[in-house]
């Protein structure tokens, strides 16, 4: 859920080379091959020289300086006016907001052993709101989803998570929508804000978790702010994209009718982009839920805490049960938000009779919801979820059984596969990156950046290479890069296979999509424990984790791309006698080339956001450095530098692939 789908912007000027595309494409391939050959030859000669490797306990001056800055901030926390009057005020406001929602639905309040609104009230409100903003189908889904969490025996935990997610998304949108509108209207602001958004999305949370609790203290405020940092960027990007996507002619028409800027914004731009903006809200919710287990490390209450505690004793069943509740919550919120974004059109389509009934029905629904709230406020049976979570323990023991079975029966197969891939592909590639002199790898990267992405991408690559060297983490960055590229290649293999399958069949799409959603929000360690048994603590396990998280995005983008190929073209090919294989390889894939590039872009960025998780299961390198920096104060600066290196790798590949995507669509 890290980075939002950023479609190549149409407003950007197409590269000047477009007219000679045919000639250029051939020569571009040759140039890429030439760069690789020169690299290999020089590697053979210069192997092991100037590799800039740094032992795991060694620090550079930059790392020490980061340590000092961090210490000095901590030391004068209580005397610094900035803290006293700025951070403390922010903390108070957010703390109050979260505590208010918690006392409403999850935490006992003063004098009451239960929260103000019990389970029946929450289910009632959720059903009513989903119906009012969406339709009756999602209302049923929402009510069933919430009841399911109760049956799992996780009612209070779920409500705590819901309270935090709602507050974080609310705060995020408070900033994100205005900023997004601004970025949509002003190219200049967009250029300024983009690097910050990249930073917020790819900088590992572990790096700033400790400083945040220093600024905002331990408690709901810190957890909310950590979540906001991660959840706001998708909403900003999508809002900006939505504003930009409003056809220019429409805006001009409004102008010529004498609309002021303000009127154009409120009456034309915002209503017309509403649907896409809601998709941004959607992505914010997903991102917020992906933070649930991380914020549990700074005492955020809820499902994340259950997952973290269960994993201390490798209790996969309990962790899976809680993870499943997160998945259910994500799917409910996702479907409701999606229904809300398409409601008006479907309602308009369904005719006037329903419209006439809508108002009284809404009123009646509100009364019914209020009655339920009242009941749940007053009576114990409606306040505390009945039962003792037997469904939950059944789910847990089923998950345990499945895990044990897989561990006992599959590991022979999996080890062979792991060793083949590691020795055949990963090790040679990693050696090439880490054992070449740094300037050789840097030059090759810049060269590839220029050839694939154009001059501007080349300049960005050069800057990123320079900064990577400056972080002192060059060697580890290359190790991480090797695993990430291998993971991305595999993500694309899955993406193409399943994306084409889903794109060609609605049925497959409907069956697979919930699984893809689950893979994106299930806390990684829940499925990593069995993977660890199958593949051991290795780089390969880290690659598998990255694929599970990143492949769904690539699959979804490619499925969309394949579906967008005009029906008539496919029919024409069929009538020309093409078989299915030919249609896929000669028509559908080539015609969704820009979707493929976008999927590569998002795939790699999602893979990079799993680097830290990889560090926890044996990948070493940057991910491990970040985790170590979080756990040992002398290594804090090094962890920060490693975090920066991840951001730099992300920015470098984002700019190259986006430039390439623009070319592909030009």
């Amino acid at each position: 859920m890290t980075v939002v789908m950023e479609k190549p912007e149409k407003t950007a000027p197409a590269e000047k080379t477009a007219p000679v595309v045919g000639v250029r494409r051939v020569s571009r391939r040759v140039v890429v091959a030439a760069i690789l050959v020169v690299w290999l030859v020089l590697f053979a000669v210069l192997r092991g020289k100037q590799t800039l490797s740094l032992a795991s306990a060694d620090l550079t001056d930059l790392h020490r300086w980061f340590n000092d800055v961090n210490d000095s901030i901590g030391a004068d926390r209580n005397s610094n006016p900035f803290f006293l009057y700025f951070f403390n005020e922010i903390r108070l406001v957010i703390d109050n907001l979260v505590t208010f929602i918690q006392e409403l639905i999850s935490q006992p309040t003063e004098g009451r052993p239960v929260p103000q609104v019990g389970w029946l009230g929450v289910v009632g409100i959720a059903g009513y709101v989903s119906w009012a903003v969406g339709n009756w189908r999602v209302a049923l889904l929402a009510m069933a989803g919430l009841t399911f969490m109760g049956l799992q025996g996780l009612w209070q935990e779920s409500m705590d998570t819901l309270a935090l997610t709602v507050s974080a998304v609310f705060v995020a949108l408070l900033f994100a929508i205005p900023l997004g509108v601004w970025a949509g209207l002003s190219d200049r602001f967009n250029r300024i804000v983009t690097p910050f958004l990249d930073f917020m999305q790819t900088m590992p949370t572990f790096v700033y978790l400790a400083p945040i609790t220093l600024f905002f203290l331990i408690g709901p405020a810190s957890a909310t702010i950590a979540t906001v940092i991660y959840a706001a960027p998708p909403a900003i990007r999508i809002t900006a994209h939505a504003i930009r996507a409003v056809p220019e002619t429409t805006v001009e028409a409004a102008d010529s009718l004498g609309a002021t800027r303000r009127q154009a914004l409120l009456k034309v731009l915002l209503p017309m982009s509403k649907r896409t903006v809601v998709m941004g809200v959607n992505q914010s919710i997903m991102a917020a839920l992906a933070m649930v287990t991380i914020t549990a490390l700074i005492d955020a209450p809820g499902l994340g805490k259950t997952v973290v505690q269960a994993l201390q004793s490798l209790d996969v069943g309990t962790a899976f049960n809680a993870g499943l509740a997160i998945v259910v919550m994500a799917i409910v919120l996702d479907r409701v938000a999606t229904a809300a974004s398409t409601r008006e059109e479907t309602a308009r389509g369904s005719g006037g009779r329903f419209q006439a009934w809508r108002r009284p029905l809404l009123g009646a629904g509100a009364v019914a919801a209020l009655v339920l709230v009242y009941l749940s406020h007053t009576y114990v049976w409606a306040a505390e979820f009945p039962g003792d979570g037997t469904v939950g323990s059944k789910i847990a023991s089923a998950a345990d059984t499945a895990t044990t079975w897989a561990q006992d029966n599959l590991s022979g197969l999996t080890n062979g596969f792991r060793d083949t891939l590691t020795n055949g592909l990963l090790n040679p590639f990693q050696t090439l990156l880490t054992d070449s002199p740094w300037w050789l790898v840097g030059a090759a990267l810049i060269g590839l950046g220029v050839v694939i992405g154009g001059w501007r991408a080349g300049v960005t690559t050069a800057v990123c290479v320079g900064l990577l060297v400056a972080t002192g983490m060059w060697s580890d960055a290359m190790t991480t890069l090797a695993s990430s590229v291998v993971a991305t290649v595999l993500v694309m293999v899955f993406g193409v296979v399943f994306g084409v399958w889903m794109g060609r069949s609605m049925l497959v799409d409907r069956l697979l999509r919930p699984t893809l959603d689950a893979a994106q929000v299930m806390p990684p360690f829940v499925y990593l424990v069995p993977f660890l048994a199958l593949f051991g603590a290795t780089r390969f396990t880290a690659i598998v984790a990255a694929i599970v998280y990143a492949a769904p995005v690539a699959i979804k983008i490619i499925a969309d791309g394949v579906r967008a190929v005009p029906e008539t073209t496919v029919e024409a090919a069929t009538s020309a006698g093409c078989n299915t294989w030919q249609i896929i390889t000669k028509v559908q894939l080539p015609m969704s080339r820009s979707a493929l590039t976008l999927a590569t872009n998002q795939g790699l960025i999602y893979v990079l956001s799993m680097v830290v998780v990889g560090g926890l299961v044996g990948a070493g390198a940057l991910g491990y450095d970040v985790v170590a920096g979080f756990s040992q104060s002398e290594l804090y600066g090094k962890g920060l530098a490693a975090g920066l290196a991840i951001v730099l790798l992300g920015v470098m590949f984002d700019r190259i692939t986006q430039a390439a995507a623009r070319r592909a669509s030009a």
């Binding site: 609790t213 505690q309 004793s313 009364v367 009242y374 007053t378 306040a383 603590a537 044996g618």
Partner: protein, 322 residues
Amino acid sequence: MARHWRAGAAGLAVLGLTLTACGGAKVGDDSSGSDSSGSSGKCGTFNLAVNPWVGYEANAAVIAYVAEKDLGCTVKEKNLKEEIAWQGFGTGEVDAIVENWAHDDLKKKYITQQKVAVEAGPTGNKGQIGWYVAPWMAKKYPDITDWKNLNKYASLFKTSESGGKGQVLDGDPSYVSYDAALVKNLKLDYKVVQAGSEPALIQAFRQAEAKKTPLLGYFYEPQWFLAELPLARVKLPDYTKGCDADPEKVACDYAIDPLDKIVSKKFADSGSPAYSLVKNFNWTNDDQNLVAKYIAVDKMKPEAAAKKWVEANRSKVDAWIK
């Protein structure tokens, strides 16, 4: 239209009233006698950090249970990573950490420099870090548990990650480790590979035993997993005082670390009965392992595990709160 609206509202009101009439017990009816609000005056609120491992949780659960039941404190358990828990001493949000593994860097920062924390004595648990092999290996190769023979077996421990050498698997980076220096200074043909977390390490040992595959790794006690699988310890050159002074030149086994408790300065000066409980709290590795086993293996809730242990060991508890 208006008629429908009225009819609907009336129907719902009737429904609501019916439900209300046969509603059942009301919230607050049972006057919630469970929280002993009467005796909470003296102790007040006690902010107890809970670090994320089971052994710590055992300590915290027992202390919290005694503080609540015997001293009438309101205990607020805060689930935090170590670094953040220490940081909480300065901001006044954490009163006590009840299982600390050395952390000389943090002691220097928060006790010596910022003067916001003080030591509150040992927990009685002895922390012992070392190198371990899966039990089946110790049976099959009896001499493998001496470091001098490790090179002989190095080829057994090769993995896809160890670059042709034997693998020493390390775990969570929060724990002190000078394994890389040990490998170098003892001239072992091994490479340290970072598993990166405790679950990864435990899972590796579990699989090694189940599949009879070789594994040499870093581990430590007290740890609940040793009750499930008694790993065999590899003897490294004996620890002598000061042999670990220079982390680059270490060539001896890890020292036995008495685990200790740290409290905030404010808490220590407050005269709270919870402080003297923390200060007096002391038990053995076996005690902790038992409670940890209740939590990790028997899957009891920490409070239930604490209750069970406290009821069986009343005399020990009484010595802490005398």
